[in-house]
């Protein structure tokens, strides 16, 4: 393909076209930036489903603006015939395949993420052992904040090959699990009912959701897992602290002895 043929693919770029492209780019950027500023601020005034919906609008708006901008600008630059499009996209694909594979893969995964919703702003996700709240979904990466207030950037690329654990999956329900390790000599049913009441009397508990206690016998004693949902996923750590503190008090008053783990049993047993 000689130079003339390549140039023939493109339209004549006049100053008017340049101004139009610049305007489209500026308006698109302004809309995206405004949505990234206004919607999180708006979401901070909301709770539960309404908050998550407002946050989920951010990446959706960005993709819509991106598509409209692309559809607007491309015909201004390229003569929109099938032959031209195939030639340009083929050349671009080749370049991307060699040089910018990971970057573009992340960009495409970012679009897929908006469509498939493996995570949305406000969700609590775990990727490769890092757990946190999704704060922002960018074009290339998702930004999460861990409980220790560390921001972690995870490329959307991980979506193709890694397991994404989503604790609340776009809803306000997030199950919390609190462990209690007790000496084997006790009345298990009494402990189970007591732990259910510990959750029921927690100010944080979401009363609309179930409360479950599961027990498992271990060589060193009995392992109880108290499962319940907080009213707001952001309260999960305060909720677990409240359950632990009040659960320990109530168990002491029952009275039940806590298990004394020998060093070889200190490592956590596999979850069930």
């Amino acid at each position: 393909m000689d130079t003339e043929k390549i140039l023939g693919l493109f339209r004549e770029i006049t100053s008017g076209v340049l101004i139009e492209i610049a305007l489209v780019f500026a308006v698109a950027t302004a809309i995206v930036l405004a949505s990234q500023k206004v919607l999180p601020w708006f979401a901070d005034h909301l709770h539960g489903k309404q908050r998550l919906f407002a946050l989920a609008m951010i990446p959706t708006i960005r993709v819509i603006v991106f598509i409209i901008g692309f559809v607007w600008i491309v015909p201004l630059v390229i003569e929109p015939t099938m032959q031209n499009m195939v030639a340009i996209l083929g050349a671009a694909g080749l370049a991307i395949g060699f040089a910018l594979k990971d970057y573009v893969s992340s960009l495409i995964a970012g679009i897929v993420a908006v469509y498939e919703l493996p995570y949305r702003p406000g969700d609590w996700i775990e990727v490769e052992g890092t757990y946190g709240e999704v704060k922002h979904i960018g074009m290339r990466a998702v930004e999460i904040v861990t409980p220790d207030d560390t921001v972690v950037f995870i490329p959307h690329l991980k979506l193709w090959s890694n397991l994404i654990h989503n604790a609340n999956n776009g809803g306000p329900s997030l199950m919390c699990v609190v462990d209690f390790y007790l000496h084997p000599e006790h009345d298990a049913h009494r402990v189970k009912h007591l732990l259910e009441d510990v959750a029921l009397t927690s100010p944080y508990v979401q009363l609309a959701k179930p409360i479950v206690v599961v027990a498992k016998e271990e060589p060193w004693g009995t392992h109880y897992r108290l499962k319940a949902y907080p009213i707001d996923p952001r309260q999960q750590f305060q909720f677990m602290t409240d359950l632990t503190a009040r659960g320990k008090n109530c168990l002491r008053q029952l009275p039940v002895n806590f298990a004394q783990l020998s060093p070889e049993h200190v490592v956590q047993a596999s979850p069930y």
Binding site: L46, G48, L194, D197, L200, T201, Q206, L207, Q235, Q238
Partner: protein, 325 residues
């Protein structure tokens, strides 16, 4: 019951909240949006609590007549429950009714009896066959020990082991019990939602449309409707608003106060042990400054009638478990 008496005691499942006129819905949505956007001025958010007009007390006799029309003593079940939305005046009505019928008002169990979860010692000291338990929402706390007492008491009540009586339960407590003790309570009654006719019977003179707006805004609660009406009559006053700093702790406090029909400071601390005493004091004083809560003569903190609807909306927006009224 005469034709002019608009009080009605109905089975709870028949309760219907009055629907708001379209103009009220639009007004409420606009107000909600303004609140979200922070456009509402904060100047009137700190009213002088002493300046609030006292809302008129309504006559109890017609309401008692409505109870008499439904509570037929001949085929009375062992226990009947009257569900009382806050400020609806059910407690006072039922006390008056019990007095007329010769029902004994039960004394609430002591803290020791509650913590032992043994209902026998409490019942033995009552010595009556027909009774009214009007403080069901306020004698216990949302703690594991007290929950066991409630779980021991409710089956005994339903089995008729402790005579024949009427239990008045706050609507918030009833909603919580539905979750804590998942057997539906039988023979539950409540007063029908306040209508424009009932407001007129209670002494308010205004057009039907205006009264419908008041009852819809008050969710059919007569006490709240009268309080809103009293505020509306004074153009210099407005309903109290939650402070801008209201957060999770504020929500927990307000929910606890509604659940227990008001609480003393030390009991509030017991049900919310995760709040430091100083934090609790700050929250309560801030809410008091905003006329959202008040401290009565018995040192019990309560949500004010003027702020009730605002508080309910605040808890609803945060996903709390609400009453059915």
């Amino acid at each position: 019951m005469t034709k002019s008496n608009h009080w009605q005691l109905i089975p709870m499942e028949q309760f219907e909240r009055p629907s708001a006129p379209a103009s009220t819905v639009i007004q409420q949505t606009w107000s909600h949006l303004r609140k979200l956007l922070g456009a509402d001025s904060d100047d009137d958010a700190v009213p002088d609590e002493q300046d609030f007009p006292s809302y008129s007390e309504f006559a109890l006799e017609p309401a008692v007549a409505a109870v008499n029309a439904v509570f037929n003593e001949e085929d009375a079940p062992s226990v009947r429950f009257v569900i009382s939305p806050p400020f609806s005046g059910c407690g006072a009505i039922m006390r008056k009714w019990a007095e007329q019928q010769g029902y004994t008002q039960l004394t609430p169990p002591s803290i020791e009896q509650l913590e032992q979860a043994d209902t026998d010692p409490w019942w033995q000291q009552q010595q009556c066959d027909t009774w009214l338990l009007d403080e069901f929402s306020s004698f216990w706390l949302r703690t594991t020990a007290h929950m066991q007492f409630i779980r021991a008491l409710l089956p005994r009540l339903l089995r008729g082991e402790i005579g024949c009586g009427v239990v008045v339960i706050d609507s918030w407590t009833y909603a919580f019990l539905q979750r804590a003790w998942p057997l539906s309570l039988p023979h539950c009654y409540c007063f029908a939602a306040a209508s424009p006719e009932l407001l007129r019977q209670s002494g308010i003179v205004a057009s039907d449309k205006r009264l419908r707006k008041v009852t819809a805004r008050a969710r059919g609660n007569l006490g709240v409707a009268l309080a809103h009406w009293a505020v509306e009559q004074n153009p210099e006053r407005s309903l109290p608003r939650l402070p801008g700093e209201a957060d999770d702790a504020t929500a927990f406090i307000l929910y606890s106060l509604l659940l227990h029909h008001g609480l003393r400071g030390e009991y509030l601390q017991q049900v919310l042990p995760m709040l430091a005493p100083a934090q609790l004091d700050v929250q309560l004083l801030r809410l008091q400054q905003n006329a959202v809560v008040e401290l009565d003569d018995e040192k019990i903190w309560r949500v004010t009638v003027y702020a009730y609807i605002e508080v309910r909306e605040f808890l609803a927006a945060r996903g709390f478990w609400l009453d059915g009224f």
